[in-house]
Assembly symmetry: C2
Homo-oligomer: 351 residues x 2
């Protein structure tokens, strides 16, 4: 198990990563007043574990699924906290995937103006990405994550035991963010290429998860609230991936990130930001997770629709984080027309 500190200005956070993280949780939370938030799926799988780890704590399971990541569910959590008469010295444990972590973290930040939060991510995606860095949110009026807070958890416990119950789709989803991290950090890229045949092995996942968390911690420490622009690099693949996810759905978020990275690596190559050789190595890696790329119908329309996404601060311009060379990336701004022309042209190509 590795211990990774995230030294943000607002509140330092400690991540325990690897086998034994859950034991550490029992040790660190012993004797505390605790409120557990989970979802109905996770509760079904881990009821015994939850009841034996938190025998005296109220447990609230929200309905599972992204479509429940709403103010309504957030306030149902806050309601339960009030009914349990929780005081300001109690701790909230969010045990589940990204949706539970995002809403649980936000509830902790709001209850009596903030009680300590603990993240116990149970999906690979949440372990390598969303549980670390303090982003919490709910969706509202169809806009993703538009209501939220930057609120660092006291502890994050990433235990590989939870990965054993995940379907293959969920492992692929987490690998999406892992490969993205590889495109930002050279050592992780090497590890991924070297282990390309066993990306989904638990032993490898445990090792690479800690590396990804360590990289993200470094970024978050320097730009906690996404103000300097540095933290934006974590959005590589997300502009295009998110546009396609919104329009076509069905696949997981992480897979769409990889598909987005496929398009964006091609763009990087075409506009001369990235050498063909490295772009090809990146796409080979993407191909280890996403076996087959479809040809997207009406991809121009999909992109155009998504450019209303609130994250694009200037109109008529698309901002992309593009791969440059191993361990290096660059931000590029393209006009909407140029961008759409490029992805229409790339659409249907092979990995």
């Amino acid at each position: 198990m590795q211990t990774i500190k995230v030294k943000t200005k607002s509140r330092p956070s400690t991540v325990y990563c690897g086998e034994g993280a859950v034991k550490k949780l029992e040790e660190l939370l012993d004797g505390k007043d605790i409120f557990v938030v989970t979802d109905t799926n996770v509760y079904r799988l881990y009821e015994d574990f939850i009841r034996s780890t938190f025998p005296h704590s109220p447990v609230f399971a929200v309905p599972a699924g992204e479509r429940h990541k709403t103010p309504h569910t957030l306030f149902s959590i806050l309601d339960q906290m009030l009914q349990a008469r929780l005081r300001r010295n109690c701790w909230l444990v969010a045990l589940g995937g990204g949706v539970v972590g995002d809403m649980g973290g936000l509830a902790a930040s709001l209850y009596m103006r903030g009680i300590p939060a603990v993240q116990v991510p149970t999906t690979l995606l949440a372990q390598v990405d969303s549980s670390v860095g303090g982003k919490t949110a709910v969706d509202y009026r169809g806009v993703k994550n538009v209501i939220g807070a930057f609120y660092q958890p006291e502890y994050v416990f990433c235990d590989p035991m939870f990965l054993k119950t995940l379907p293959a789709r969920e492992i692929r989803c987490g690998l999406g963010e892992i490969v993205k991290t590889g495109a930002l950090e050279g050592t992780i890229f090497d590890q991924l290429e070297k282990n390309a045949d066993r990306l989904a092995d638990f032993a490898f996942l445990e090792e690479i998860t800690a590396a990804c968390v360590r990289f993200k911690a470094g970024i978050v420490e320097k730009d906690e609230c996404e103000r300097s622009g540095l933290r934006k690099c974590l959005n590589m693949g997300h502009t295009t991936g998110h546009a396609l996810e919104l329009f076509y759905g069905r696949r997981s978020h992480g897979e769409y990130v990889l598909i987005g990275m496929f398009f964006e690596s091609c763009i990087a190559e075409r506009i001369g930001i990235c050498a063909a050789d490295y772009a090809r190595r990146l796409r080979t890696l993407i191909g280890r997770v996403v076996k087959k790329l479809p040809r997207f119908e009406n991809i121009g329309e999909a992109a155009r629709t998504a450019l209303y996404d609130k994250k694009n601060e200037k109109k008529n311009e698309v901002s992309l984080i593009l791969p440059r060379s191993q361990g290096a990336y660059a931000e590029a701004k393209l006009s909407i027309e140029e961008y759409i022309g490029l992805i229409e042209d790339i659409n249907g190509g092979n990995l």
Copy 2:
């Protein structure tokens, strides 16, 4: 006009206090994307001012009154912000009393995980107290301020021009927190005693407001999130005052703070924490604002009901911040029975 810095860890905040603050606002916010939150009362009085100061900005007036300080109103603000297609670089200006400031600040903290907030307090209470220090909140399920955040505003503009439209009741309300500050800080106490005949004069209010803000800034810098216990001193008079406010209503918050201070100064004297002479000087000052104290019917029941207030972390115990001597105070813990016996005994006494 005085400039007071509040150097908190999370985000430094600057308060402009005195005549000309509003001019400074125009200068500092020039060219920014702004969303104005106010309430229907303030908008009726200051429509021309608001329209000419923020000619291109959306203005949203929430219904006036404490009973609208709810998640429902909070989300109506967030709705309007979304409909105005505000981006992460826009600023929220909360122009109004404490309710507008609390809700506007919370909306700013939550919109896209936080946009800069500006407080323009229009009541004396908000100028001397609630607009400074970053406490934001809404009430929920009958519990005051139970959902909220510590979120420092970028700027606070306390301009005395707003005090001119305030009814006498509102001036008395603000004087409640001013006299409370005097009980915590010796120089302010001197100023209050020296000006006891003109407490409600605008010139005096302008001067004393800046002194109170400066004092509060010093406390907030040392204990932003009310964790070390230091910030608790600002609750002097509030335990008893709040209990009576909840039970009997009618008078303003600040007046109840003073009534609470009356009871608590008597308690401090009786349990030997405060010398009789200083306690009497304090009560004389209180009498300059609260002309006559009623005899409260069933005061024991009122106190008992309020001790369910979430702020009292330990059961069977009441925590009070009591005056000790000029510029000094102490925390005292009494059993509920002792406390109730004392206030029943003090009830009906004279100022």
